[in-house]
């Protein structure tokens, strides 16, 4: 895939509407793009999209999640002020003064505004405080048919993904950026005459605790799982965008031997990588993937991101391309049956 195609895909996926448990739009895009490179593609009982490429030898599964954090309308009053709950972790600060896109259960899209009382009407005390969800509301009264907005309608911040210099900005790049890695990887691996048994699992419900990944891991029981998610670009950890994929290291979850293999392959192929310690819980699908069924050797690969869980998440596409390059060689090494150090 050319870089320009990659960028288009990333932007398209970011724009797709896909709150936790309602990922249909994202599914459509991923399906269309990965279909040429796999043998079968299906949505499982819990809503994971699974693309399977037949091969020989080890069963390798790549996990990325396609759900995004969102709001859900919990009640609406007669004047058109809607209360809401969150699906996934959302900072109330980033919600203030946003326009949101509401998909109603009647299939229509409507607009809402999360407003802020003007400073004139605030006092010293209230100015210091960030209103909690309990004190925030979505104003839907501007819609001529606002009474059609009902409990259970889903909403995301209304932003269109775009390029800022060489970076991509948008919502839901956590973790659709990694979905792009899986699609590109499938494309690359399609060029080989023989590959291991490959599963590209696009999971649902990661943002509410990894339920989707647990089910997929239980069902597929791969010999190796590579879980891909975004991680914080932060001064504290020293992890930054544009410096390549981040390998999860240490701790109970990451498989030590496969980790060494991956690290060595990065060196051999001159892929610049970064490292991130993984404590008892990684906060990714890996937590449930590893201990599903009879247990699954698991690796974590992340790409750095700024402003996670906001409408202006930032991704450097170079990290995506480098991740694909690394994983392609990694899969190649597994195909050759190399589980020992390379």
């Amino acid at each position: 895939m050319k870089t320009s195609d990659l960028l288009n895909l990333l932007i398209r996926l970011s724009n797709a509407f896909g709150p936790v448990g309602y990922e249909e739009e994202a599914i459509d895009v991923i399906k269309e793009k990965i279909n040429p490179f796999v043998d079968e593609i299906y949505v499982d009982n819990i809503g994971n999209l699974i693309a399977h490429k037949k091969g020989t030898g080890k069963k390798i599964a790549f996990f990325t999640h396609m759900d995004e954090i969102a709001l859900v309308i919990s009640t609406v009053d007669e004047k058109g002020f809607a209360r809401f709950d969150t699906m996934g972790g959302i900072d109330p600060k980033i919600l203030i003064s946003q326009r949101v896109k509401i998909k109603s259960r009647d299939g229509k899209t409507r607009t809402g505004i999360i407003g802020m009382l003007a400073p004139h009407l605030q006092n010293k005390e209230t100015r210091k405080e960030v209103p909690h969800y309990d004190d925030l509301f979505i104003d839907v009264s501007m819609n001529p048919d606002y009474e059609k907005v009902t409990t259970g309608d889903l909403a995301v911040v209304d932003i269109t993904s775009y390029m800022l210099k060489d970076k991509v900005i948008g919502k839901a790049l956590d973790d659709r950026a990694c979905c792009v890695i899986s699609i590109l990887l499938a494309e690359q691996l399609d060029k080989y005459s023989s590959v291991p048994e490959l599963y590209f699992v696009f999971t649902t419900r990661e943002e509410v605790g990894g339920l989707g990944a647990q089910v997929a891991s239980q069902t597929i029981q791969p010999d190796l799982a590579v879980v891909m998610d975004v991680t914080q670009d932060s001064n504290d950890s020293g992890i930054s965008m544009g410096k390549g994929p981040v390998l999860g290291v240490g701790g109970p979850i990451v498989h030590k031997k496969y980790y060494k293999n991956l690290k060595n392959i990065a060196k051999k192929k001159n892929v610049q990588v970064q490292y991130e310690y993984t404590p008892g819980r990684s906060g990714t699908d890996a937590d449930s993937v590893q201990i599903a069924g009879k247990g699954v050797p698991t690796l974590i690969l992340s790409i750095p991101q700024k402003h996670m869980h906001s409408p202006v998440e930032v991704i450097n596409p170079k990290d995506i391309e480098e991740s694909v390059r690394l994983l392609e060689s990694f899969v190649e090494s597994l195909k050759e049956g190399e589980t020992n150090e390379v």
């Binding site: 109970p252 310690y277 008892g280 819980r281 069924g293 009879k294 699954v296």
Partner: protein, 346 residues
């Protein structure tokens, strides 16, 4: 020394995710006295003693190999190592201690600002892990980086010691359970039973009961007994009514804990066996804290389990105390239950 192997087991270094030294040690101890054994994808060690008769059921005995500890989070500019905890470790127990770092067990220490440098308020305030670090003899970031990596495990470094009827040391939670399982295998050599007994030394209990479900999925047992190290709490600063257990009063039986009320019939079988054979025992006085029994209940078709613990004071720290009489009685109770076989015939 009454329990030489327990000494070895507790002195081995194995925090959650780094249990290999423990499983290797146990493997060596049991490999010639079990019918089969294997290590699974997440590092659990599983062994099988076949019953004299087939189809008499499958009992699983379980103990966890991991202990709590720390991990290198970042290598600081001044060559020290920033740390985070693996499993529940109170930052107040790590200061002024020696530690071992990495799988190569390099030496380090965890200090804290001298008392002279602290303000009165700071003296009695629990520092966060952000304020703690390991010093391993390096003054520069690059020097430290040549020796250590982000993600390296950090272990408590405590020698086991027996004093009279007590033992002091680290990792009694749950290496004592690991030893109980080995003792039961040895006992079965002399006293075989009709049914199949599986032994699982599992990983990652301390970070969320993560190993036991994986082990049980391979064994598919009909019932299980979890051997744990539990907290005692019998100290003068805590009202007696709030103690979880008292060391020296025998194995601790659990009627309820976090995330599960363990199977009533198995609980009764254990209680009756202890009574009948005059094995001192006590009931856990608190319901806080869970064990792998909670994971087993949620695995496959639901595996009913009982929980038997040896209590120790000050667990999840580098310095714990337990009663060797309790430990002996736990072993005795375990062996008794195996011979009775009633845990299965519920």
């Amino acid at each position: 020394m009454k329990f030489k192997r327990l000494k070895k087991l507790t002195e081995l270094y194995g925090i959650s995710g780094f249990e290999e030294p423990i499983s290797e040690f146990i493997e060596n101890e049991i490999k010639n006295i079990v019918d089969e054994y294997w290590k699974d994808e997440v590092g659990n060690l599983i062994a099988h003693k076949k019953g004299k008769k087939s189809n008499r059921g499958r009992l699983m005995l379980l103990a966890h190999m991991d202990e709590v500890g720390l991990m290198v989070k970042k290598i600081n500019k001044d060559g020290t190592l920033a740390i985070t905890n693996i499993g529940g470790v109170d930052p107040r127990v790590v200061m002024g201690k020696k530690v071992k770092i990495g799988e190569e067990l390099k030496d380090g220490i965890i200090g804290y600002k001298a008392i002279h440098e602290q303000k009165r308020e700071e003296l009695l305030k629990t520092p966060k892990y952000d304020k703690l670090c390991v010093y391993a003899g390096h003054e520069k970031e690059d020097d430290a980086k040549s020796e250590f990596n982000v993600g390296d495990p950090i272990f408590f470094d405590t020698q086991y010691k027996e004093i009279g009827n007590y033992a002091i040391g680290k990792a009694f939670d749950d290496r004592n359970g690991c030893e109980v399982l080995i003792k039961i295998i040895e006992y079965l050599q002399e006293n075989p039973v009709d049914y199949d007994v599986f032994f699982a030394w599992v990983v990652q209990e301390e970070v969320g009961l993560r190993g036991s479900g994986v082990a049980a999925s391979q064994i598919e047992p009909d019932a299980a007994i979890v051997f744990e190290g539990t907290t005692a709490g019998d100290n003068p600063e805590l009202a007696e009514s709030r103690w979880a257990a008292k060391i020296g009063q025998g194995p601790v039986l659990t009627y309820a804990h976090r995330g599960l009320v363990p199977d009533r019939k198995i609980f009764d079988v254990i209680k009756e066996a202890a009574k009948k054979h005059n094995i001192p025992h006590q009931f856990k006085g608190r319901t806080a804290g869970g064990t792998d029994a909670a994971r087993l209940a949620r695995t496959l078709r639901g595996i009913p389990a009982g929980v038997i613990s040896t209590s120790a004071r000050y667990i999840h720290s580098p310095m714990c105390v337990m009663s060797l009489n309790d430990f002996n009685n736990t072993i005795k109770l375990g062996q008794t239950l195996i011979t009775e076989g009633k845990v299965l015939s519920k």
